[in-house]
Subunit: 379 residues, 4 copies
C-alpha cells in the first residue's frame, strides 16, 4: 500500500488538538505527513514542521503559500486537515476545496449556517471529500448503536437523551482568565458558548446514531458564573424528522463531571445507553427483557463495530483510537478515489460537511430560541 | 416508651404502598397499628384488619365510620396514614385534620393547588401535623446533601439536575392494560401523568436539598406511546427563588432505567451527585478538588445523616428504612406533642402539607406551560 | 394470623446486632416480642425489656431464669433468638433446644466443631429448629444464584471466588483499643480472627449458593498490623465435594473496602457475579453469551427470589430486609409446626445448625492448615 | 528531532500483538520502522514489510539474515522489537544484544529463569537496553500508584491484591481447538499456562507499583476444563522483600470477566484500587479518610503520571496509548544513548530484562510449589 499524502494547517507546537490528529492519522500507517502550515507564526510553524520530519520545501509560513505551492505539485496531498481557530475554518476549507483538495476540518466547520451551506455546495461541485471532526462518532460502540438502530432493533425511536457536561469553567475566580474568557464573549465566540463548543458533539451523535435530523427546537440558556454574556449551561429539546424527541443537556459548570458525554436512545423495542467515560461497554435493554452488556471487541457486534475495533476485548481502546477511525474511513475513501474503486460502504459514515451544516443550524436556532424565552424554532 | 397509636386508611390487601408503610412505621417500634379502614370493600377491609392484629372494634368499613368512632375514643390515634387512591386524599385528609388528628397522606396531597392550599391552612389552624409521603427524602445521604448545602459547603447553588425515569410504561401493547391506561387519561389522572406521578419526587427532592422553591418554569411534555392524552415523558426547566436553575427530566418510556431517581447539585464551591439505585454512596467534588465518595454509615457525615442511619457502613439500608425515617421523625414530633416537649429540630425535615402544595403548583404550572409550547409560567 | 411468640437473649441497649434482629423479626409482623433476657446486667436488661414493650413478668435478669419461667408457661415462645457474645452461644442454645424451644442463634453457633456437632445432634433429637444467622443468605439475588445453580443453569460448578474484606482494623494506633484488641487475642477469640468473624459469611454463602460442602482446604493467615497473634488477613483455597474449587479472601486491613462481600461463581455453562454493596443487581454471563443484569424485583427471576422480595424493582431493599427473610422462613416453618401443616419447601433454605457446624470445621481446619504452612487439611 | 530507526522480528500479517507495537511505537512519532523479519514464512514476511513501507533491501526472510545485514550498516537500528512466539525469544534477544542492538522483547523474555539470568548478564555487558513488554505498566494511573507508594503516601505496604482473570478458555468444546490447546500442553507451553501467560502481568504490576520483589511463594494450580495438563486457574500467595504479602489470582475460566486486570494495594496509611477495564480512574482511600477518585489527566497527579498522559481528562486514553509509554521511555533513553546525554530519570521505569528474569523465577517457583501441594518455595 502506498501511503496517502497528508498535510496540516494549524495544530502547531503546544496546540490542544494537533497531537491527537497526528496520533490518529498515523495510527494505522495510512497517512504520511508531508506538508504543513502549522502555526500563526511562520517561523515557529516551519521549525515545528521540521521537528515532525516534514521536508523544508513543504514547510510553509501560511496556508495561502501552502495552497499555491501544493496546488502546483504532482505528488498532490490526498488530504488536508484544518486545525486552526474556529473563525478561519470557512475561508481555509473553501479555498482548499475549490483547489480540488480533500479536507478534514475541525469543528465547527464555519461560523454561520449560511457559510456551511456554501461549503456543502462547493464540496458537491468539487467532487472531493469534506469531513468534519466529530470524532466521538468513531467509537466502535457508537457505531454499534447506529447499526442497531438502522437495523430496526429498537423499532421507531421515541426519545434520545444526550449530555455533554463538564465543570472546567465553574471557577468564578478563573472567569477572567483569558483562556476561558473569550469563550463567553460574543465578539469572539459567536452566539453560543458551551452548546457550540461541547454540546454540539452530543447533538452530532444524536443525529449520527438515530439517522435523523432536527425539524425544530426549544432552548434554555443559562449564564451561571459571573457576568458571562454567553451561556455556560443549556438545555435544548428537539423534534427530529423521524419522530424522535431529543433532550440535550450541556454544561461547563457541572463540577465533578469530566467531559461526561452520554447518550441514551429509547425506542419501541428497547433502549440503549452509552457513556464516553467508559466507552467499552454499551447497555442494551430489549423491551420487557434484561439489560445486556455489549463489550467492544466482541465478535457478536455489528460489522460496523467490528471493523472499527483494533485490539482485544477487555482493553480500553480509548479516544485517540476512536478518532483514528475517522482517518481510517478517509483512507478508504481516498484510496478508492485514487484507484477509481468503490469505497467500502461502511467507510462512508464519517461526519461530513452536511453534518457541519446541521450543527451550525442547530446552534443558530438554539441561540435564537433561547433569546425568545424558549420559543419553538424551526430549523 | 409508650407506643404511638396508629391508624391507616387504604393500603389494604394487595395494595402497592400499604406494606411499605407498615414495614416503615413498625421498623423502630414507635407505632402500634390499632385501627384502620383498609379497603374500598368494607368486608375485605375488616378481614384484612384482623390479619394485621387490629381488634375487631377498630376495624372499620369506611373512613367516615372510622372518623366518627375514633374521634369519640379516649385512646386517640396519634397518627392516621392515608394510602388510598389520589382523588380521595383531599377529602379524607381534610376531615381528619379538622377532627384534630395528625395525618400522613400519600402523595399527591390533593388534586389541585387550591385544595392543597386549603389543607395547609387547615393544618395551621388545627395545630396538628400533616405530612406528605415524599419518602425518598428519608435517605440518609439525601439528608446529607441538604445539610451540606444548608451549611454552605457548595456556596450559592447554581444548578440542579434531577431525574426520575423508568421504562415501565413503554410497551405499546400494554398501553390498553387498565392498570396502565388510567394513568394517561385526564379524566382520572388530572393534568399530568408521569410528572405528577414520578417526576414529582425528583421535584420535591430538588426543593428539599436546596431549601429553595420555584418561581417559574417552562415545560415540554411528550406523549410517545400510542395515543396517550397525557405525557409519558417530560422535561421541565425551573428558576428557583434562591437563584438556582433546575432541570428535571422524567419519563415512563426509558427502557432499561429502573426508577432511576438521580440528583446532581452544582454550586459555586462544588458539586454533589447521588442516585437512588445506589443510595449508599454520595459523590462530592469540591471546586478544583478531587471527587470524594461519602458512604452512608460513616461517622464523618452530618448529624442529620448520622441520625437517619441505623446499620453498619457497607450494608445497604435500602428504601424501606429510608421511608422509616419519615415515621421516625413523626414519632419524635408526636411524642413531643404528647409530652409538651420540644421535638428534636432535626426531626422537622419530613415533607409536610406545604411541600404537597408546592408539588401541586408545580404540576399545574407545568401542564399549563406545556400546553403553551413551553412558555415560562409563574408559580 | 396469630403472631408467633418471640423471645431474645442478649441484644440489649447499645448492642450492635440486637436492633437488626428486632427490625427484621418485626418487618412482616410475624413475630411478637414477648420475653427476653437482654443484658449481662439484669437491671439494665429488665429496663430495656420494658422500653420494648415486654411485660414485666417476662423481662428476665438472666437466661437461666428465663428458661425456667418460660418452660413452665402455656403460651410458649415459638422462637428464642440468641444474640449474646460468642462464648455463650453453645451453652444457651443447647439449654433451650433441650427444653424444646426453637432457636435462632447468632453466628458462630459454638466455639468448636465438636460443640457444633452436639448441637446438630440435639436439634435432631428435639425435632425443633436451630437456625444460625448467616443473614446475607436472605438477599433475594443470593437466593437467585442458589436457584440457578440448583437448576443447572451453570452446569457443573468449577470455581467459586468469595471475598469479605474491610479496612476497619487497619489503624495501627487503634490496635490497642479494647473494642478491637480482643478480636485478635486467642484467649478471647479462639483460633481465628477475621476468617471466623467476617470471612465465614463468605464461606457460608459459597456453600449456600453451590449446594456443596468442603472436603479439604489450604489456608494462609497473615497478621499485618502491630503484634497481633491472630490473623487480620487470610486466603483460603477449598476443594468442595461437588468438584468445585473455592478461593476465599478475607481481610480487616483493606482500607477503602466497606464490608466488601462479593461472590463469583463460574461453571461449565456460565458465570455469576454479585456484590453486597450493590445487592440489587446480579450479573449473569452465559458461556459465549453476553453479560445480563438481573434486577431484584424483576418478575422473571426464580420463584425463590420472587418470594424473598417485597418492594418494587429499582428500589434497594437493603440488608435489614434481607435478614428479615430468615425470619420470614422461620415464621413459615414455625407456623407449620403449630398447625401440623407442611412448610413451603422454599422456606427451608435458611441457615441451620448443620451450617454452623460446617463453619466451625472450616475455621478449625483453616487455623490448623495456616499453622502448618498451608498444608492441605481434610475436613 | 531525527527519528529513531526501528526494526521488528515477528508481528507479521495477522499476528495478534504486532499491530499494537506499530501503533504504540508510531504514536509519538519517535520511531521509524525501517527493517524487519516479520514472518516465519520469508516471502510473506517480505511482502508484508513492503506493505508497511519498509524498503526492499531491509525486508528480511529471517532474523539471522537481518542480524547479519543490519550489523553491517552504518545507519544502525536503534531498537529491535521481538514479537515472535515465546520459544524463540531467548535466542533472538541474545543474538541481537550480543551484536550491540537495543532490544524490546515480548514477554516472556525466555522459557527459563536461567536463560533470563543470562540475558540480564549479557545486557549488562553490552551496555545496551533490553526491555520486556509488560506494557500495562505504561498506564498513567499505574505509574501514579508507583509514585505514591515510592513517595510514602501509603506508608509500609502490607498487602497487594492482584488479579488477571478472563473466561476465554472456559468452553470445554473449544478445548481441542489448536488455538487454545497448545497453551495447556507442557511440551509447548512449559510449566505453567494461565499464570505464565496472563497472571504474570499482574505479578509484574505488583512488583512495579510496590518496588518490591518476592522472596517466597505458595501456589495452588487448578485444571478445571477437560483433561488439561497445565493450570487454567491459579491462586498464588507471595512474601515480598519489603514485607508485603501479595495474593494473586489468575484464571482463564472466569466467564464474564474480560481480561479483568485489577490491582489493590493496602498500606499503613491508606489503600489504592485500580482496574484495567476502567483505567482512567484510581481510587485512593487515606486511612480513616474518604475514598477519592483520581482522574487520569488531572494536573494534581504525580509528575510521572502527568508525563505519561497525552489527551485531556475525561477521555479514555486506552491501552495502545499505555503501551506507547513504553516506547516513549525507550525513545528518551535511546536518544540519550545517541547524544551522550542523561535520560530523564522518569524514563527509566519501563520493564527490563531484570523484570523478565523475576517473572521466570516466579513462574518456575509457582509451578514447583503447585506440584508440592502449595509448599512455600523460595525464589
Ligand atoms: N473535535 C474535538 O473534539 C475538538 C477538541 C478540541 C479542539 N477542537 C477544535 O480544533 C480547533 C483548534 O483548537 P485547539 O484547541 O487545538 O486550538 P489551539 O489554540 O490550542 O491551537 C491552534 C493552532 O493553530 C495555529 N494557528 C492559528 N491560526 C493559524 C493560521 N491562520 N494558520 C496556521 N496555523 C494557525 C496556532 O498557532 C496553534 O498551533 C478549534 O476549531 C477547536 O474547536 C476540536
Ligand atoms: N410515595 C410513593 O413513593 C408512592 C408509591 C406508590 C404509591 N403511592 C401513592 O399511594 C397511594 C395508593 O397507591 P397504591 O399504588 O398503593 O394503590 P393501590 O390501588 O395498590 O391500593 C389502594 C388501596 O386503597 C384501598 N382503598 C381505595 N379506596 C378506598 C377508600 N375510599 N377507603 C379505604 N380504602 C380504600 C384499596 O382497596 C386498596 O387497598 C396513591 O395515592 C399513590 O400515589 C406513593
Ligand atoms: N450475623 C451477623 O452479621 C452479625 C453481625 C454482628 C454481630 N454478630 C454476632 O452477634 C453476637 C452479638 O454481637 P454484638 O456485636 O451485638 O455484641 P454487643 O457486645 O454489641 O452486644 C452483646 C449484647 O449481649 C448482652 N449480653 C452479654 N452477655 C449476656 C448474657 N450472658 N445474657 C444476656 N445478655 C448478654 C450484652 O449486654 C449486650 O447487650 C455475636 O455473637 C456476634 O458474632 C453477627
Ligand atoms: N504483552 C502482551 O500483553 C502480549 C499480548 C499478546 C501477545 N504477547 C506476546 O507476543 C508474542 C507473539 O504473540 P502473538 O499472539 O502476536 O503471536 P501470533 O502467533 O499472533 O504472531 C506471531 C508472529 O510471529 C511470526 N513469527 C513466528 N516465528 C517467527 C520467526 N522465527 N521469525 C520471524 N517471525 C516469526 C509469525 O509469522 C507471526 O506473524 C508472544 O510471545 C506473546 O506472549 C504479549
Amino acid at each position: 500500500m502506498t501511503k496517502l499524502n497528508w498535510g496540516m494547517i494549524g495544530g502547531g507546537a503546544g496546540s490542544q488538538i494537533g497531537p491527537t490528529h497526528r496520533i490518529s492519522a498515523g495510527l494505522d500507517g495510512h497517512f504520511l505527513l508531508c506538508a504543513g502550515a502549522f502555526d500563526i507564526d511562520p517561523d515557529r510553524g516551519k521549525a515545528f514542521a521540521g521537528s515532525l520530519g516534514v521536508s523544508a520545501d513543504r514547510a510553509y509560513g501560511d496556508w495561502r503559500e501552502m495552497l499555491a505551492a501544493e496546488s502546483a505539485r504532482d505528488d498532490r496531498l490526498d488530504l488536508v486537515t484544518i486545525a486552526t481557530p474556529n473563525a478561519t475554518h470557512y475561508e481555509i476549507s473553501r479555498a482548499f476545496l475549490e483547489a480540488g483538495f480533500n479536507v478534514l476540518c475541525e469543528k465547527p466547520l464555519t461560523m454561520t449556517a449560511n457559510e456551511a451551506r456554501e461549503i456543502v455546495e462547493i464540496t458537491k461541485e468539487s467532487g472531493k471529500v469534506c469531513a468534519v471532526n466529530y470524532g466521538y462518532s468513531g467509537y466502535p460502540l457508537v457505531r454499534q448503536m447506529r447499526a442497531m438502530i438502522a437495523n430496526g432493533d429498537l423499532g421507531k425511536i421515541r426519545l434520545i437523551k444526550a449530555e455533554f457536561a463538564h465543570g472546567f469553567h465553574a471557577d468564578a475566580e478563573e472567569a477572567d482568565n483569558p483562556r476561558v474568557r473569550w469563550r463567553y464573549d460574543p465578539a469572539q465566540a459567536g452566539t453560543s458558548a458551551v452548546f457550540a463548543d461541547a454540546g454540539i458533539h452530543a447533538f452530532h451523535m444524536a443525529c449520527f446514531v438515530s439517522g435523523q435530523t432536527p425539524t425544530e427546537l426549544s432552548a434554555d440558556f443559562a449564564s451561571l458564573v459571573g457576568d458571562r454574556q454567553l451561556e455556560d449551561d443549556a438545555m435544548i429539546n428537539f423534534h427530529f424528522n423521524g419522530g424522535a424527541v431529543c433532550r440535550l443537556w450541556t454544561s461547563a459548570v457541572a463540577v465533578g463531571r469530566m467531559h461526561g458525554l452520554t447518550l441514551q436512545v429509547f425506542g419501541e423495542k428497547g433502549g440503549l445507553s452509552w457513556q464516553q467515560q467508559h466507552p467499552e461497554q454499551l447497555h442494551w435493554t430489549p423491551l420487557n427483557g434484561r439489560t445486556q452488556i455489549l463489550e467492544r471487541g466482541d465478535s457478536d457486534l455489528s460489522e460496523q463495530a467490528v471493523r472499527a475495533s483494533r485490539i482485544p476485548i477487555g482493553h480500553a481502546e480509548g479516544m485517540p483510537v476512536a478518532f483514528a477511525n475517522i482517518y481510517m474511513d478517509l483512507a478508504d475513501v481516498l484510496n478508492a478515489q485514487r484507484t477509481g474503486a468503490k469505497p467500502d460502504p461502511m467507510a462512508l459514515d464519517f461526519p461530513q460537511a452536511e453534518d457541519g451544516y446541521w450543527s451550525m443550524r442547530a446552534i443558530e436556532a438554539a441561540a435564537s430560541s433561547a433569546k425568545a424565552n424558549g420559543a419553538w424554532t424551526k430549523l
